[in-house]
Symmetry: C3
Subunit: 439 residues, 3 copies
């Protein structure tokens, strides 16, 4: 690919900058593709955890979350994030249409931001499975991609209020709270507004388990997500090389990229182990979906601070994030009586909060009071905003009678009522599925 | 990995060339792997869209398309492409066995070309599902990989006739027409030669819908394809860095790589939206497979010119490519009465043509008459060659009685008759599936 | 991303080292992620090849193999490998806790080693499907990750006895024997210790075929594995650039990376072709699972020497590795009467041995007697150690009555007895599956 040259090569400043930029762009593109692939993971994880009569509906929502969401984030959301960052963070210049005119390198940055945004968006679909109208879900997704999530990134990564709170700023390396916590809280709020699926609870308040239709698809989705998560976390160490103000080329985020990779791996592993152990304690058996979702909760737990976690800190936060999963899932199901179908709150919400709050205690260096204050502030503000915004949107949809499908459509399944298709036309008998045992 | 040195480092020309070559090789290898992974996407997409009695047949064809095809492309196809490029493009030197002796960097280039070739090859299998003999399909695949597709790349990317047609040359950045359009046209031609599946049409000419066995696998395949497509399109911006004739290191195709990534993303999104909107218009519901295939059609539509598309141009071509899908599918099914099982013509064929023809109108810079002429010439020549070559091969197979399985084998399913296996031995009852509603 | 600088850039030694290290780290991370993704491939391949009543068990084992195994490899295994390498290889310094204190670049290297280790570990689960107790499997996995596999890498890649045997050392580029051969031998030994599944053999010694529940998942797994295998083989060419002792920057392993990619591709293709041909010869039909597993056997076959294989050598070893699959599978099933459920020995074991032994004959350069001796020594020592260690562990478990589930639990399926779940609650009738035809 490179031939012989007669002219001697002397690297000028511009050439060195081109090499550094090329390497950094290469890395950011690769990890962006990996994070995009997490949509396949979410699609399979959620499809596996819903009834067969609602699978196509879940898949359609996943396809449209990406398609509609990324378009909205291009046209509106990226600008809103920049505006909120500027207004709440000191007032630099911003552009509401910066994504449209970004140019080549800017579009890479935009897409890198967009795949994080769409991760937050798609989490919600797992919580509202089986009874939300497609138009209600899409309306919420449009608002999430255009405003609700961009406000969160505006307050944080775009330099807004939380970026310097308590003097040290809210630390959330790859979005344990900003992306996953936000998505999990939004999902719980939406599921609460919607109410549970029919027959999910008995008249006496006891809960019925409605098992998903395929553990195989759910575990496939889990492993696809774990693969993409290496892009998500390790890729957030986005600068392979950097050029200092003094003009020196050195490793950028890649000076600590190995720590990010190690911490992500150990927390993921301990998440699965923690959920397995808790499952064994509770029932004497190792529930497959707890293992899978525990692995994901371990990943969520470390996502706020893989850049600073000690190796034992990564193991501890993973163990806690996995171990809390069965407990929080039971609390949401039996106490709050919220029907969070795919367990998105225990996996993304509470695990995301846990990780953000654990950061000051499990990182290299001394424990700092300012950091504790900043982390509490970040978790509280993001949670508060997300609950209020989500409840408002679904409240309006409810008032308009557009939130939930009819009981007839819910019993028949959303695949037929909303999409006119059967996911498995050769395998289903067309009858309504009976709900099995109570728990 | 890098220790301390006593000898001062001075970058010589050879060292700078090594760095540039290493970075470029790294990128090309990564995107090649991504494009290879599209085979998993095609396998799942097609498997999901066929009856359960034909799934193993479809999967076997996918495995063998890659295996036999890439071997033929190594031994013969790459040389044919180079020969055709030379003969029709001005007559430089070429080698029919260049792939065998390419050497390390040359083998990377060969493999990069091979994964594009195999994409074209595998598209055809979706159109001929459920009734082609395995030996017929494999014969065609061998000829496609050895001759039919290499003629197309010879005429274009290898510098042949179309590379300079109308003074400006046929513009097809990543193979919207060369790969996808060619594959879609070949599939339609093959399906036409084979005739429809039994019971696909009634005596009065009306069509029966024969739904595939799993929308879940089809959507999984869609998302795997979209992931791989980032390699396909963005990876075609293959040179991270380049060294100019004057010996200056600068960004190569990476100077516009962000545009490619942005345009690919927006067209994909608008493809899903366009197909959803058309589905809503036609039936009042959002058909899941139209959304999935629309997303892919949007990707096909932009593949000819993500390097030059404006952001709104990418959105327009995606919307059109998605929107035309239900219309063209209906036209092929009801007017042409061709049984294109997996809709490969509307997804790859017509969307590929659309994108190639839209290039002059939706790109940065002024609209050029020469470009319009070149695009029309490219689409016409590639279509013509593909139809003639494909029809000839299947015509000979038909004359030899080797094209299509017997009606008994078709009813029983190709899994048993051609492969001696059942895909889902625990779930099928062994009876022939009944064909449901007519449309 | 890179701004303007007033200070002229002059690349110092440290800066050049940073650039080389950044590029190399980038590549190693990407391929590590690809190799990790092979777990999704193994999970799907194995899930597809077991009965539906045992799918969740298989998936849980896959999730826990990674989670528990990688933790053990971090805490213990990496240190054991280093210790064994030092003690048997000449006695340099080593640390039993080196992984804990490795630092950023060291953690990347550790994770790169860990994904190879976990590949060896997960192969075993396919052989012991359907009757091993979860606690027995996990006990073995812990010992494999902490000791059994690290001894093998200690003897080889870590510089131990086999690294210099016969003067030239055992050549195994990416682990055809060290990883796959070892895993396949371990699987066969474990399956032999466990005994066959109930009703797998009749009283007269004839075998019953117990087909897996989904060829679709099995083929999906195959293609995911092939995708990850590019990381496995091509990624073992781990240094894009290197700095020589004289301080010269040049291509490192990337000077032959194209050969690795070409050889991997051709051997994979010929593996599928070889198994297809043998299947046709034996039964007159092309068995889908033979094609899929043949493709994998071709990959295993080349893994020991893609760095040195001639193009025709890669084709030959792939053809042999694919062709031996049906023969060795039949030998294990009918002669040895070992119930290797997912055919891990013919795919990973015998194909791995074949490739390691074929290296001296199918590589560039002259055939060397020393190399033949070294390869035989390596295959023999790794096989011997693996058989003894595996048989010992399962022997102890058997003596403790902890090896195998009860016949009642086996009939009911391990999903319910060990995990309390049903994989497909809507599709199974709860009855025990009947075992079909005998072969």
């Amino acid at each position: 690919m490179v031939g012989e040259f007669l002219v001697p090569l002397q690297l000028s400043d511009a050439e060195i900058q081109a090499m550094v930029e090329g390497i950094n762009l290469l890395w950011v593109l690769v990890v962006t593709f990996l994070i995009f692939f997490m949509h396949a993971g979410f699609a399979m994880l959620e499809a596996g955890q819903v009834r067969s009569k609602n699978v196509a509906n879940q898949l359609t929502k996943n396809l449209l979350t990406w398609s509609v969401g990324v378009t909205m984030f291009f046209l509106i959301g990226a600008g809103v994030s920049s505006m909120v960052g500027s207004i709440t963070g000191g007032g630099g210049e911003y552009s509401l249409v910066g994504a449209l005119t970004a140019g080549s390198a800017g579009w890479v940055s935009w897409l890198f931001g967009a795949v994080f945004a769409m991760t937050a968006a798609t989490i919600v679909s797992g919580a509202v499975a089986g009874r939300a109208k497609l138009r209600a879900y899409m309306t919420y997704t449009i608002l999430l991609a255009a405003v609700i999530y961009p406000v969160v990134t505006g307050l944080t990564w775009a330099g807004g209020f939380l970026a310097s709170v308590a003097g040290v700023g809210f630390h959330d390396f790859a979005g344990g709270m900003i992306v996953h916590g936000m998505g999990g809280v939004a999902g719980l709020t939406a599921a609460w507004m919607l109410g549970p699926r029919l027959e999910r609870y008995n008249a006496d308040g006891s809960a019925n388990v409605i098992p998903g239709h395929s553990i195989t698809f759910a575990v496939l989705g889990t492993l696809v997500l774990a693969f993409g998560w290496y892009g998500f976390n390790v890729g957030t160490a986005a600068s392979v090389l950097t050029i200092t103000d003094a003009g020196v080329v050195e490793l950028g985020a890649f000076s600590y990229v190995g720590r990010v990779a190690m911490a992500t791996t150990l927390a993921m592993a301990m998440g699965a182990i923690g959920a397995s152990a808790m499952s064994l304690l509770q029932t004497g058996k190792v529930d497959t979906l707890y293992v899978a979702n525990g692995l994901l909760a371990g990943l969520v737990g470390i996502t706020a601070f893989p850049d600073t976690a000690t190796w034992w800190g990564a193991m501890v936060v993973g163990l806690l994030a996995g171990g809390q999963l069965p407990i929080v899932f039971g609390f949401v199901e039996k106490r709050l009586k919220i029907d969070d179908v795919c367990a998105v709150f225990p996996v993304h919400g509470s695990a995301g909060m846990l990780g953000a709050l654990a950061y000051p205690f499990l990182s290299v260096g001394a424990i700092s009071t300012s950091a504790i204050v900043a982390q509490v502030a970040g978790v509280a503000l993001i949670t508060g905003w997300t609950v209020v915004a989500t409840a408002t949107v679904f409240g309006v949809l409810k008032a308009l009678g557009q939130m939930r499908v009819t009981p007839e459509h819910e019993r028949e399944g959303l695949d037929i009522s909303e999409h006119g298709v059967e996911t498995y036309p050769e395998f289903s008998d067309g009858d309504e599925m009976t709900v099995p045992d109570s728990s």
